[in-house]
């Protein structure tokens, strides 16, 4: 099959909508357009039935007890905000201490930051150099005042899969609410809210070949029942947890995306893992001084985060502009600071600047992997030939021994 350009390998950022998902959504834009909150006519009943069926699919996919535990939102950022601020507001009189990790998504970190300004105390637990959070560190951070622990299922940059079940045991034993940002891991690694003692879970459709603009928050209803203070005022939709007219086509698409994963997810993960490992092997075999960031095995099947030493990430991305990837390089952000995730894992800043994240997904092919491996190899060689650091390295000079002047 002929290659089509540009090649998309940034499936952690978002994924294309699967044609089967789009097909399932279409009737709900036009023919079945009703407001799911309209109780007085068939248009509303239709929409509500579709939403409720979707709730059940999504609930069953994550091992929840009932569809009533699914609160639909606009996406994971809203779900994270609702979970963290909603719990803090409801349980704040029990204690004002929250535990999270330094590698969480900004939606979690910045929600915590805001709570700090409101008198909460937040402990940010570091991940290890392999990108994994140690449950013992969470346990050590717990105090009498701890009301909430928030840890992601899988990291979006290095793909490390966190020990959710072990942390769930700790939080359950202490009666602390446990929130999991499950956005990146959903459908790619086992996730079961009951088996893992998860109380709240943020989900989103657009990372699993569903549409953008729709997500969900799982809110446990029994053993124990978790309460939240809604963060959006209005018509009291979603059992008062989230006001706002439901995005019916989006919700139907989300459920369809989940249905596909339920049937095909395991086989798909194996296929993607095979492509990822093929890319990794080709690059490591062809190029010296390539470092894998994150854990070698406890990582998302499609995630490959590599540092090509002595080459700057954005410079490399420019050289492979027909391939969509992302970088932990500072230059891709306005802040000029390299990835906070990589730095908090203890990566040297120069290696963070040299990192490229490949995110393989459902629609990538072996031909694409082979093309990308060859292209990246050629471009890394070219850029190293232009890099003073590579020349120093070849001459046996340790670049850490030089007194650089930061600018």
């Amino acid at each position: 099959m002929a290659l089509k350009f540009p090649i998309y390998m940034d499936n952690h950022a978002t994924t294309p909508v699967d044609p089967r998902v789009l097909e399932a959504m279409m009737p709900y834009f036009t023919h079945d357009f009703g407001n799911a909150a309209s109780r007085t006519h068939a248009f509303g009943w239709h929409a509500e039935a579709a939403v409720d069926a979707s709730r059940e699919s999504i609930a069953s996919f994550i091992g929840a007890e009932s569809g009533k535990e699914i609160v639909f939102t606009s996406g994971a950022t809203e779900s994270d905000n609702l979970a963290i601020k909603g719990v803090a507001e409801y349980y704040g009189n029990k204690g004002k201490h929250i535990i999270t990790t330094t590698i969480e998504h900004k939606a979690v970190l910045d929600s915590c930051k805001r709570l700090e300004k409101q008198g909460f105390e937040v402990t940010y637990v570091n991940a290890g150099t392999d990108g994994l959070v140690n449950p013992a560190d969470i346990e050590r951070a717990m105090t009498e005042k701890t009301i909430l622990v928030s840890v992601m299922l899988a990291n979006n940059e290095v793909g490390s899969i966190q020990p959710i079940a072990e942390i769930g045991k700790l939080t359950r034993a202490r009666g602390v609410v446990f929130h999991v940002d499950a956005v990146q891991g959903l459908g790619k690694t086992p996730f079961d809210v009951r088996a893992m003692n998860v109380d709240l879970a943020s989900l989103t459709a657009h990372k699993i070949y569903g549409p953008k603009g729709v997500g969900a928050l799982y809110v446990r209803r029994s053993k124990p029942r978790i309460r939240l203070v809604a963060q959006m005022d209005g018509g009291g939709h979603e059992r008062g947890n989230r006001s706002g007219t439901l995005n019916v086509p989006g919700i139907v698409g989300f459920a369809k995306a989940v249905d596909i994963l339920q049937r095909e997810g395991v086989a798909e993960a194996e296929k993607i893992r095979g492509l990822r490992d093929r890319l990794w092997k080709k690059l490591v075999d062809a190029l010296p001084e390539v470092k894998l960031n994150g854990h070698p095995t406890l990582r998302l099947p499609g995630n490959l985060n590599l540092s090509f030493a002595f080459v700057e990430g954005e410079g490399l991305m420019m050289a492979i502009k027909d391939v969509a990837v992302s970088s932990g390089s500072a230059c891709t952000s306005a802040s000029l600071e390299p990835s906070y995730v990589l730095r908090s894992m203890g990566l040297d800043e120069d290696m963070a600047h040299s990192s490229i994240r490949f995110g393989l997904g459902r629609f990538n092919t072996e031909e694409e992997v082979d093309y990308v491996a060859e292209l990246v190899t050629a471009k890394v060689r070219r850029l190293r030939d232009m890099s003073p650091l590579w020349e120093m390295h070849q001459d046996g000079i340790d670049i850490k021994s030089i007194q650089w002047v930061a600018h």
């Binding site: 700057e312 954005e314 230059c331 040297d348 800043e349 600047h353 232009m386 650091l389 650089w404 930061a406």
Partner: protein, 135 residues
């Protein structure tokens, strides 16, 4: 962020990539930036007896704008006297390459690299002259 055509042009066809012998008395070397900041430029000049830059080479670790800025810098300083080269401002480089605000620091680094190479050459020359006087 989209790159300007001029950045892409220099990035894809960089001028004067390479190295000059840093121990050569007629060569000045400037090494600026830091790996931790994501850009390092090494710019070298070869200066003739009349103080004119005869050749210039660079190697850069950095983004496309950093590579383009150093490429342009070497192109501009060739054939100039040290004083002329030393008066090149980062704003001229930024303007020529149409750099967005977030990339202005790349042009600053290129200006620093030129100045640093000139300073290195002048130091070496002064040291040599004082050595010669002493003999």
């Amino acid at each position: 962020m989209a790159y300007s055509e001029r950045v892409i042009e220099h990035y894809e066809n960089p001028r004067n990539v390479g190295a000059l012998d840093k121990n050569d008395a007629s060569v000045g070397t400037g090494l600026v930036g830091a790996p931790a900041c994501g850009d390092v430029m090494r710019l070298q000049i070869r200066v003739n007896e009349s103080g004119v830059i005869e050749d210039a080479k660079f190697k850069t670790f950095g983004c496309g704008s950093a590579i383009a800025s150093s490429s342009l810098a070497t192109e501009w300083i060739k054939g100039k006297t040290l004083d002329e080269a030393g008066s090149i401002q980062n704003s001229q480089i930024a303007e020529e390459l149409n750099l967005p605000p977030v990339k202005i620091h790349c042009s600053v680094l290129a200006e620093d690299a030129i100045k640093s190479a000139i300073e290195d050459y002048r130091k070496k020359r002064a040291a040599r002259q004082s050595l010669e006087k002493g003999q």
